[in-house]
C-alpha cells in the first residue's frame, strides 16, 4: 500500500508541475492576453472561406460539365455568376490586404 501511495504522490507532483508550466516558464510576461481575432480579421477569414467556396464551386461545375452531368446550356447559365462572385470576393480580399490592420486592444490595455 505504501509504494502505491508514494507512486501516486510522485505522479501528482509531476502533473501539478506540468499544469503550472505556463506560469513557471513565463513568470511575468509582457502580455497575458489570449489571442483574439480582430473584427477585420474575422471579416477577412469569412471572405477567404467565401473565396474558397466560390473557386471550389467553379472547379466542381467544370468537372460536372466535363463528365456530362451538366448540359452546355446549364453550364453557361451558371458559370458567369460564379465567376463574378469569385472575382468580387478576390477584389474584396485584395482591398482588405491593402488597408490598415486595426488591432483590438486587450482587456485593461491602454489604446495608443
Amino acid at each position: 500500500m505504501g509504494w502505491g501511495l508514494a507512486l501516486a504522490a510522485v505522479v501528482a507532483v509531476v502533473a501539478v508541475v506540468f499544469v503550472a508550466r505556463p506560469f513557471v516558464r513565463e513568470p511575468s510576461p509582457a502580455s497575458d492576453e489570449l489571442d483574439e481575432l480582430a473584427p477585420e480579421a474575422r471579416e477577412r477569414l469569412a471572405l477567404a472561406e467565401e473565396r474558397d467556396r466560390a473557386l471550389a464551386a467553379l472547379k466542381e461545375l467544370e468537372f460536372d460539365h466535363r463528365t456530362g452531368k451538366i448540359s452546355d446550356e446549364d453550364y453557361r447559365a451558371q458559370v458567369s455568376p460564379l465567376r463574378r462572385r469569385a472575382a468580387e470576393v478576390l477584389r474584396a480580399l485584395e482591398r482588405g490586404e491593402e488597408g490598415p490592420h486595426e488591432r483590438v486592444p486587450g482587456q485593461g490595455e491602454r489604446v495608443p
Binding site: 500500500m1 502505491g4 501511495l5 507512486l7 501516486a8 505522479v11 501528482a12 502533473a15 506540468f18 499544469v19 503550472a20 508550466r21 505556463p22 506560469f23 513565463e26 510576461p29 502580455s31 497575458d32 492576453e33 489570449l34 489571442d35 483574439e36 481575432l37 480582430a38 480579421a41 474575422r42 477577412r44 477569414l45 469569412a46 471572405l47 477567404a48 472561406e49 467565401e50 474558397d52 467556396r53 471550389a56 464551386a57 466542381e60 461545375l61 468537372f63 460536372d64 466535363r66 463528365t67 456530362g68 452531368k69 451538366i70 448540359s71 446550356e73 446549364d74 451558371q78 490592420h101 488591432r103 483590438v104 486592444p105 486587450g106 482587456q107
Partner: protein, 652 residues
C-alpha cells in the same frame, strides 16, 4: 495496488475539473497562461487515467479477488485474454470512456493548439464531460472497491467469452467517445463566437474516424451475436444494439450536411443541431446500456449510476440547446437553396430520412421505458415496428444514394438528369424484372432493396467511369477528391450491406426437427444428416457436439459440429456451427440441443443466402472511410494559408 488506482482516478478528476473551471475562467477573462495551464491539465489527464487502467488490468490478470470488480467478472479458470478485457463490467466500461475521452481530447486539442481562441473554449467542454465520468468512477461506481478475498470469482458471462468481446466494446467506445470531439469543438465555437468553418476543419477527420469506429463496432457486434448467441440472426433491434445505431445515423446525417456548409455556407444551425444530437445520443446509448433502465424502470431506480447519467444527459441537452439558441444570429446565413433538384437538396432529403429513422428508433427504445414509468405496464416494441420504419426510411435512403451523385450542385435541369439517369435506371429495371421472373417477388422489401442496390451500384460505377475519363485515370480522380470518392466506396459498402440483409432475412429458410443418429433434414437444397454426438472439454467447461454431415446435390460439402457448453460457474451456453457456402455467399447455420440419453438432438437449421456480403461490406466500409480520411496535402496547404492569412491575431 487499489490505493494507487483510486489516487490516479482522484487525480484525473482533479485535472479535468481544473480544465473545466480554470479553462472556463481563462477563456472568459482571456487569460493566456491560465488557458494553456487548463490545456495542460487536459493533456495530463490521459496518462493519469492510464495508470488507473494499468492497475485494474494487473489486478484482473492476477485474479486478485480482493478487488470486488475482479471477483464479479473473472474466475481463476477464465482464460487470461478474457480476464484482461477490463471493459467487461460497468465500472470498467466507464473507465474505458474516461481513458478514450482524455486521450482523444488531449490529442485533438494538441493538434489544434494554434487556434487558441477556439481551443480556449473547447478545453472546458472536454473538461465538463471528463468531470462527469471521473466523478462517477471516483464517487459512485469505482472499480477499486476492496473486500476479503473469496476463493473464486463469479466468472464471465459465456456469451462474452468470445474473441469478438476483445474488439467490439473498444471499437464502439472509440466511436461513442469520438463523437465528443466534434461536439466539444462545436460548443467551443459557439462559446467563442468563432462560428466560421475552423471547428469543422479541426474535427473533420475526427468525426469520420468516430463514425467509422462506430460503424465497424456495430458490424463486429452483429457478427459476434451471429456466431455466439445461436439464434441464427445478427441484429434483433435490441435497445443495446439500437443505442449504437442512433448516434451513427445522426453522425451520418452530419457528415453529409457539413459538406453543404463547406460548399455553400448553408445549414450552420442544422449542423450544430446534428453534432449535439449525435453526441447526446452517444451519451444516451451509454446510459441505456449501463443504467439498467432496459430491464425495468425499477432496476433503473436501484442502479447507482442511472440517476446521475440522466441528470448529466439532461444538462448536456440543455447546454447544447441554450448555446445554439444564444448564437443563432451568428449562425444565420444568407445563402438559400437554389433548387429542389440539386446535390444539396438530395443531401437535405437524406438528412431528413436519417434523422427520422434515428428518432423513430429512439421512440421505439423509449416507449417501453415511458409506459413502464407512467402506467406501470411493461410494453415492448418489437421487430415489425422497426422493420416498418427501416423499409419506410431505409429504402428511399438507398435510392437517394444512387440519385445524389448523379445530380449537379446548385441546380440540375431535367434534360441533363434524364441523360445521366439512363444507364443506372436501365440497370435497376433489368435487375428488378429478372428477379421478379426468378421468383424473388415473395418479399417486396427484398426485391426493392436488390433493385435500388443495382441502381446505386450502376450510378457509382458510372461516376467512376466518367470521372476517370475526365481526370485521366482512377488514381488521379480519387486523389483530387478523396472525400467524394471515398464516400462512393462507402456507398458501395452500404449496397453490399443492403443486399446481404435482404438476402439473409427476406429469403432465408428455417427448419427444425428432432433427429436420431442417421436421420436427415432438408433445407433449401441442402441435406443435413445427424451422424452421432461426442463429449468435449475446455479449460472452464464440458459439453457435447453433434456431428452433422452436410450435402448438396448428393455430394458431401461440409461437416458441422453444433452443440452446447456447460460452463463450470456460468452455466450452459449454445454453440452454433456454420458452413460458409462460396456458391451462394451464404451460410448454413446450425444449433443442436440434446433431447434424450439415446443421443437424439433437436437440430435447427437456417439457410441464409448472401449473408457474407454483410461482413464483406465491413471491409469495404473501412476502405472507403480511410480513403475519405486520408490527408490531402494540397487541401491542407490551402487551409493553412486560409487560416494563416485570415487568422492573424490581434496584436501581430
Amino acid at each position: 495496488m487499489a490505493p494507487l488506482g483510486r489516487a490516479a482516478l482522484l487525480l484525473a478528476f482533479g485535472l479535468v475539473a481544473y480544465a473545466l473551471v480554470a479553462g472556463s475562467y481563462a477563456a472568459w477573462k482571456r487569460r493566456r497562461r491560465l488557458a494553456l495551464s487548463a490545456q495542460n491539465a487536459l493533456l495530463a489527464a490521459f496518462p493519469v487515467t492510464l495508470i488507473a487502467v494499468v492497475v485494474l488490468v494487473v489486478a484482473l490478470g492476477r485474479r486478485d479477488m480482493t478487488f470486488v470488480y475482479v471477483w464479479q467478472h473473472t474466475s481463476h479458470r477464465l482464460p487470461l485474454g478474457y480476464a484482461l478485457a477490463f471493459w467487461g463490467g460497468q465500472e470498467g466500461s466507464l473507465l474505458l470512456w474516461l481513458l478514450v475521452l482524455t486521450g482523444y481530447g488531449g490529442l485533438a486539442v494538441w493538434l489544434n493548439r494554434r487556434s487558441r481562441e477556439l481551443i480556449a473554449w473547447t478545453v472546458p467542454v472536454f473538461g465538463l464531460v471528463g468531470v462527469f465520468f471521473a466523478f462517477m468512477l471516483c464517487f459512485v461506481s469505482s472499480p477499486f472497491h476492496l473486500q476479503p478475498a473469496p476463493l473464486d470469482g463469479r466468472g464471465m458471462d459465456p456469451s462474452l467469452q468470445n474473441p469478438y468481446m476483445l474488439a467490439h466494446p473498444p471499437l464502439l467506445y472509440l466511436g461513442y467517445v469520438g463523437l465528443t470531439v466534434p461536439f466539444a469543438f462545436a460548443m467551443g465555437a459557439l462559446l467563442s463566437g468563432r462560428t466560421d468553418e475552423r471547428w469543422i476543419v479541426a474535427t473533420r477527420r475526427w468525426t469520420l474516424a468516430a463514425w467509422m469506429f462506430l460503424g465497424v463496432g456495430q458490424l463486429v457486434g452483429a457478427h459476434w451475436a451471429y456466431v455466439e448467441i445461436g439464434w441464427g440472426g445478427y441484429y434483433a433491434w435490441d435497445p443495446v444494439e439500437n443505442a449504437a445505431l442512433m448516434p451513427w445515423l445522426a453522425a451520418t446525417a452530419f457528415l453529409h450536411s457539413v459538406m453543404i456548409q463547406e460548399k455553400r455556407g448553408m445549414l450552420k444551425v442544422w449542423n450544430m443541431v446534428l453534432v449535439a444530437l449525435a453526441f447526446n445520443l452517444s451519451l444516451f446509448g451509454t446510459f441505456l446500456t449501463r443504467s439498467g433502465v432496459i430491464d425495468s424502470i425499477h432496476s433503473f431506480s436501484r442502479s447507482p449510476i442511472g440517476g446521475w447519467f440522466l441528470a448529466f444527459l439532461g444538462l448536456m441537452v440543455f447546454v447544447s440547446v441554450a448555446l445554439i439558441r444564444w448564437r443563432l444570429p451568428l449562425l444565420r446565413t444568407k445563402t438559400k437553396l437554389e433548387s429542389l433538384v440539386s446535390r444539396e437538396a438530395t443531401f437535405l432529403y437524406n438528412n431528413l430520412l436519417l434523422v427520422a429513422l434515428s428518432l423513430t428508433i429512439l421512440w421505439g427504445v423509449l416507449y417501453p421505458i415511458v409506459s413502464d414509468a407512467l402506467r406501470g405496464e411493461t410494453r415492448s416494441v418489437s421487430k415489425p415496428y422497426y422493420d416498418f420504419f427501416l423499409h419506410t426510411f431505409g429504402l428511399p435512403l438507398l435510392l437517394l444514394m444512387g440519385l445524389g451523385p448523379l445530380v449537379a450542385w446548385r441546380r440540375a435541369s431535367l434534360r441533363s438528369l434524364g441523360k445521366t439517369f439512363v444507364a443506372p435506371f436501365a440497370a435497376a429495371v433489368v435487375t428488378g424484372v429478372a428477379l421478379l421472373a426468378l421468383g424473388f417477388g415473395s418479399s417486396w422489401p427484398g426485391l426493392l432493396a436488390y433493385t435500388f442496390g443495382a441502381f446505386v451500384a450502376a450510378s457509382i460505377l458510372l461516376e467512376f467511369v466518367r470521372g476517370r475519363a475526365a481526370a485521366g485515370g482512377v488514381r488521379r480522380l480519387v486523389s483530387r477528391n478523396r472525400r467524394r470518392y471515398g464516400g462512393y466506396v462507402v456507398h458501395a459498402a452500404v449496397v453490399l450491406l443492403a443486399i446481404g440483409i435482404a438476402g439473409s432475412s427476406a429469403y432465408q429458410t428455417t427448419r427444425e426437427r428432432v433427429l436420431r443418429p442417421g436421420q436427415s433434414i432438408h433445407a433449401a437444397g441442402y441435406t443435413l444428416t445427424y451422424v452421432t454426438s461426442t463429449g468435449v472439454r475446455g479449460p472452464n467447461y464440458t459439453g457435447f457436439r453433434a456431428l452433422v454431415d452436410v450435402r448438396r446435390g448428393g455430394s458431401h460439402i461440409a461437416t458441422l459440429n453444433p452443440g452446447m457448453n456447460d460452463y463450470n460457474i456460468e452455466g450452459p451456453h449454445n454453440e452454433a456451427s456454420i458452413y460458409h457456402d462460396p456458391r451462394s455467399i451464404g451460410d448454413v447455420f446450425t444449433t443442436a440441443q440434446l433431447v434424450n440419453k439415446q443421443g437424439a438432438v433437436d437440430l435447427k437449421v437456417f439457410v441464409k443466402p448472401l449473408i457474407n456480403l454483410i461482413w464483406v461490406a465491413g471491409f469495404v466500409f473501412v476502405a472507403g472511410s480511410l480513403i475519405a480520411m486520408w490527408p490531402d496535402a494540397v487541401e491542407q496547404r490551402r487551409l493553412a494559408a486560409r487560416y494563416a492569412a485570415g487568422a492573424v491575431p490581434a496584436g501581430l
